[in-house]
């Protein structure tokens, strides 16, 4: 009897409301709220230590929220953990197998804990796990361990997958395979929540990006909204010598309120706003006035990196 077609259920896949998590004095997650809609790929983007993994671990039921509430597939991840776990797939940031186990053996084991797992062979082939042969887990390369981790996360045919830094340590070809795989999962109705500190990954894959920093949500939107919001373009100015004292402030005044000037470092600036002739003219006039010699003046769309720089006031350090 063929299984009935899968209908993506109603209601958000993940609802986080005012989540606070502390480790001793350190606040890892500071009043975080966001929602993940079903059938989407949602990226949680932020630098290391931003609170991404802690947030995921609360969603997976490993940690109880210290304040605020979290619902996953409509369930309480700590109190209804046994009900939730069979329905989600989890890819840990690292590790996740016996030190002496072989890759395919481990995948088969995780599959055997599920009611209706995916056929192992296609997954093994797809993620190149057959190359791992008889090598014990502890001697696999970082990229091989990541691929096994991803396979273990999806082998149980979950509704929702949490992947923590899925492509860390992968070479570019495998990264693309992984992305394609995540897109196929989404096409088949699986909801995916991924954490990453790779801007290109978030931009390329996600329906929605939540940018977090110091445990707080600093920006949310589709990659398109975030990077092309409000007719904004960017002008990136790099000069040959450090800016004279106070020069960036003067440029700010000259350009007016519709434009933002962010110092990237002492020799480069990011100007965000309407990239029209008048803005460009003002920038060149300012260069002349301050005896600044442009090394390059690039016009382009904002990247997520620029967005991060603007909302946090500092560069994104992965």
């Amino acid at each position: 009897m063929p299984a009935p077609p899968y209908v993506v259920p109603d209601g958000p896949a993940v609802e986080i409301d005012g989540l606070v998590m502390r480790y001793g004095e350190k606040v890892a997650v500071d009043g975080l709220s966001f929602t993940v809609e079903r059938g989407t790929i949602t990226s949680v983007l932020g630098p290391n230590g931003a609170g991404k993994t802690t947030t995921l671990e609360v969603c997976e039921g490993f940690r109880r929220p210290q304040s605020g509430s979290v619902r996953v597939l409509g369930l309480d991840p700590t109190r209804q953990r046994r009900e939730l776990l069979p329905r989600i797939g989890v890819m840990l940031q690292s590790g996740g197998a016996w030190s002496g186990v072989r890759a395919v053996e481990m995948l088969r084991h995780i599959a055997s804990l599920h009611a209706d797992p995916l056929p192992i062979d296609l997954l093994v082939d797809r993620l190149g796990l057959d190359q791992c042969g008889r090598t014990p887990y502890r001697r696999l390369s970082g990229g091989q361990q990541q691929r096994l981790g991803l396979a273990m996360a999806i082998v149980g045919r979950p509704e929702l997958v949490f992947v923590d830094e899925p492509t860390a340590g992968m070479d570019p070809a495998v990264r693309r395979t992984t992305w394609a795989l995540l897109e196929e999962l989404k096409a088949d109705g699986v909801t995916i929540v991924l954490t990453t500190h790779h801007m290109d990954e978030a931009e390329r894959l996600s329906d929605l990006v939540h940018v977090i920093d110091h445990g707080r949500l600093v920006a949310s939107g589709t990659p398109f909204e975030l990077t092309r919001a409000r007719d904004q373009a960017t002008i990136r100015l790099v000069v040959t010598e450090p800016f004279p004292q106070g020069a960036p402030d003067k440029l700010r005044v000259a350009l007016g309120d519709s434009t933002e000037v962010t110092e990237i470092n002492e020799q480069s600036l990011l100007i965000t706003g309407p990239a029209d002739g008048s803005t460009l003219a003002k920038v060149s006039a300012w260069c002349e006035e301050h005896d600044v010699l442009p090394e390059s003046l690039t016009l382009g769309q904002r990247t997520l990196e620029d967005v991060f720089l603007q909302v946090t006031g500092r560069e994104f350090e992965a």
């Binding site: 299984a3 077609p5 899968y6 997976e60 039921g61 490993f62 046994r82 776990l85 069979p86 329905r87 989600i88 989890v90 840990l92 690292s94 590790g95 996740g96 197998a97 016996w98 030190s99 002496g100 186990v101 053996e105 084991h109 995780i110 055997s112 804990l113 599920h114 009611a115 209706d116 995916l118 056929p119 296609l122 997954l123 082939d125 797809r126 993620l127 190149g128 887990y137 502890r138 273990m152 999806i154 149980g156 045919r157 979950p158 509704e159 070809a173 495998v174 395979t177 394609a180 196929e184 999962l185 088949d188 109705g189 699986v190």
Partner: protein, 265 residues
């Protein structure tokens, strides 16, 4: 990597669910046993050392002309069986669990459909399986050395009951140790404790070997209690109530500590 164009595309349509608990436990027990037996150091601990203790002990007793009420092999075999129980349920279990946490395996299983009870059941079944193999090897060697089972059927039943209770007590201690320390420290401490108990814990050698004071002190150790219970059972077919009570208390206390301190991470 991604196969030739037009290769069968996997259907990822969600169909989530846990396998029946019995199947999960079987799978878990099978993996645990397979990996225990694949590990060379564990096998050394489980089989080679107990067999060496038995053969060495019997030869030494003959040479030194030790004066026990029974033949050396009859005295030593129950103790070596007790040692084998201790090595697997305490040392091997603690070390394996420590490294399972270290490599994130426990965390991974913690995110799988396998409940904590299933994990524990898998481990216990694997331990008992390894112990049966140990028992077969040790009994075979003992028989070659001329061991006679004086305790009869009752003795075997008592010995098996003591081994089970000992497994519970030492297993709880092993899990508690692995929950408290890092993997490397667990490895060191578990091996050290094993060596100390093997030499001075009244497990292989009867307690009276250690003199009256020593004997009185160590009778409350789980190692001596397990050794006493096994010796009284196998040699005399007698149930030693004090030894069983001591083991029972250790099992309850260690089990409580282990279940409180257990962490998936």
């Amino acid at each position: 990597m991604s196969g030739p164009a037009g290769a069968a595309r996997q259907d990822f349509t969600p169909a989530p669910g846990a396998a029946p608990l019995g199947r999960q436990i079987r799978a878990q027990a099978a993996m645990e046993s397979k990996l225990l037996l694949r590990n060379g150091e564990q096998l050394l601990l489980a089989v080679v050392i107990p067999v060496l203790a038995l053969v060495g002990g019997v030869l030494a007793a003959r040479k030194l002309g030790l004066d026990w009420d029974e033949k050396p092999v009859d005295v030593l075999t129950p103790g070596v069986l007790a040692l084998a129980v201790m090595s697997t349920s305490f040392t091997s279990l603690a070390i394996a669990t420590g490294f399972e946490r270290r490599y994130g395996l426990l965390k991974r299983l913690g995110a799988s459909p396998l409940p904590r009870f299933g994990l524990l059941a898998g481990k216990v079944i694997a331990l008992l399986g390894v112990q049966v193999l140990q028992g077969i090897v040790i009994v075979t060697v003992a028989a070659i050395l001329g061991w006679r089972l004086d305790g009869g059927f009752a003795g075997v039943a008592i010995g098996v009951a003591a081994a089970l209770l000992g497994t519970a007590a030492f297993g709880g201690l092993g899990l508690a140790l692995a929950g408290a320390l890092r993997a490397e420290a667990t490895l060191a401490v578990a091996n050290l404790v094993y060596l100390l108990l093997m030499m001075g814990g009244g497990v292989v050698l009867p307690r009276d070997t250690y003199g009256a004071t020593g004997s009185a002190v160590i009778q409350f150790l789980p190692s001596a209690a397990l050794g006493d219970a096994m010796r009284d059972g196998f040699i005399d077919g007698a149930l030693n109530p004090v030894a069983f009570a001591v083991l029972g208390v250790w099992a309850v206390v260690a089990g409580a500590i282990a279940s409180r301190s257990f962490k998936w991470e």
